[in-house]
Symmetry: C2
């Protein structure tokens, strides 16, 4: 089997509820659908979300890197030779979601070629992931309403609160209102998306003491090196690296230098192959992981479920899987469902995301 | 004065002598010329070299980031408000040369508006920089011929040898031949562009002991975190971070964690504003800097001279300024000259790179 061509289709689907957070906001899923075609008719599918405020990618840069740099080097290769493709892609720096999409599409091809669901290829630990729901910037009472509604509707009991605002009291108040309204049993954690300084984050930790928060993600810019290390030393709860650790090398450097002590894994930026490396690094070093959301579509969320359900360490914590609920539509043929607070893997060969061609025709931007 | 528009012109000029090194090779300068136009007729100029193997940028990604993301936010701002522009650009991750070009063009505007050369605005320490010449992958005797010719022609006595090849004996032999042929007084240093492992680099250091090499740049991938720290601890000569330290935050993290103990500054990726921050960080921490070359055109090299001559610390070591000699042509109206091993700053207002419009018309790729 040989890779015949890489198809890159920019498309845009509006959000019914725009998401706001410290590093940016999203009004439409202007992504790139990647399809890798083989000479045997098997096609691998992945979704590619450009996040300039996190990775510096745009739709145009993703198409350019895939078509101008990667395609000439990978066309003709066996799609199962993922490590060869990794070496080729590694020669181009950054562009994590462009690389991640290629890798996930190759795993999808492998699953389809073998007639096996990819969560089995990856590890097959369990068949579903619990869902953590992300709460963006809104007034505290609205956040609580949303959380209660999601608990009622979907059975979700883990909530990630987007923080990083000033004055700090906005976020402190939101955390308190959520804890009081949701009760003891809900898991609540914070993600500041680099919105605070390290010392502001420490103040928030003092002011939320007793609220039973479980983690603090990306409290400040990792470039604030000395102060962030002090924060990590003093924090009573794990400090999770996310956008500071997009690659295995970044993970190693941040963990070894004390810049964080837990790691967020995102399949959109790591693909499955690098996510496996990061997972091995973290379990080897004795460090917690969480499965994050790159504001993914259902196609991207299904990739996260596929990876997250496959390993013991990735399914321990709830995965961030519900952002797609804010989208007005999706390219996926068979929609995801959240039941009892969890999303199930697909049992079809591959990752399991078939495309609705009519919707693709409607939302694609290149015709 | 207000920024009116950002002009981005992709162009391509062939190399008469392609450059080969461990992380890539270059056959043509397929860059993007950036011109920032103001409502008062002052135009800032900068050159933008895409280096996918170092920063993940392409011509298309540079144009996309500048036109789709930055232009809508900076048009209408005062071009002197560089810190505002920095904050805007910081919200987009990576894309260092796209950002660097905007910053240099704004400094160019400032110099022109004030009627002063930018090296004076930046510091005005001296009026020229000594030139270090880069020797790419070629057989050792040819490298020596080239070095002797450049010493004879231009008075250059500092040479950077591109290394990172296997077997290691290729590079060890090249270093020996250069030292024997050039004599004691020449400065010779190595740049492996991540081509070796940390342990291979240590072997090269043992095998080149006694050759009087002055520095070892980017010996291995910074992601090889533990082994690289061991290398840095054991190396008798400074280990220079280059592509591992594109931003001030990266510089801080690598220095604090022992991943390098000297820093290469490149104006193409840092602009002048971030290069100043990096310089302050390094002189504050007591760390050597070198002025590097992003395989720059004469426009880019003039920017490096402008910055490098402006500060005491940046002009101590010879700057890497001669790559442009391998190009078949250039967009600059008045060519650079190397005399007595040095390039002089321009005394015209701004950075001093006027564009030859006929050549631009000939090499631009967007018409």
């Amino acid at each position: 089997m040989k890779i015949e061509r890489i198809e890159t289709i920019p498309y845009s689907i509006p959000y019914s509820h725009p998401l706001r957070f410290a590093s940016g906001e999203v009004h439409a899923a202007a992504h790139v659908l990647v399809r890798i075609h083989t000479d045997e008719g098997v096609t691998g599918i992945a979704d590619t979300p450009p996040r300039p405020y996190t990775y510096g990618e745009t739709q145009a840069s993703i198409v350019s890197v895939l078509q101008d740099i990667f395609a000439p080097q990978v066309v003709g290769l066996d799609p199962l030779d993922r490590e060869k493709v990794q070496r080729i892609m590694a020669r181009t720096v950054n562009n994590p979601t462009a690389k991640g999409a290629v890798d996930i599409a190759l795993w999808d091809i492998a699953g389809k070629a073998f007639g096996v669901p990819v969560h089995k290829l990856l590890g097959g630990y369990t068949d579903s992931m619990r869902v953590s729901h992300m709460l963006g910037f809104r007034p505290a009472p609205e956040l609580l309403d949303e959380a209660l509604r999601f608990r009622e509707l979907y059975g979700i009991t883990t909530f990630k609160l987007k923080t990083g605002r000033r004055p700090l009291s906005l976020d402190v108040e939101a955390a308190r209102v959520l804890r009081e309204g949701l009760g003891e049993e809900a898991e609540i954690y914070l993600d500041a998306n680099r919105g605070w300084s390290a010392n502001e984050a420490l103040e928030v930790l003092r002011r939320t003491d007793g609220l039973g928060l479980s983690m603090l993600e990306e409290p400040c810019d990792a470039a604030e090196a000395m102060s962030r290390r002090r924060l990590v030393r003093l924090s009573p709860i794990p400090v999770v690296g996310d956008e500071s650790v997009p690659t295995p090398g970044d993970v190693a450097r941040e963990l070894l230098s004390g810049g964080c002590n837990a790691i967020c894994i995102k399949t959109a930026r790591s693909g499955f192959t690098q996510a496996k490396e990061i997972l091995g690094l973290c379990t080897g070093l004795g460090v917690d992981v969480t499965m994050g959301n790159q504001i993914d579509t259902q196609i991207g969320s299904l990739a996260t479920v596929t990876f997250g359900a496959a390993h013991e360490a990735t399914q321990r914590r709830a995965g961030e899987l519900s952002n797609y609920l804010d989208m007005a539509d999706d390219l996926i043929a068979e929609p995801l469902t959240i039941r009892n607070g969890a999303i199930r893997v697909r049992e079809a060969p591959g990752v399991g995301a078939d495309i609705d061609e009519l919707k693709l025709a409607r939302y694609r931007q290149d015709t």
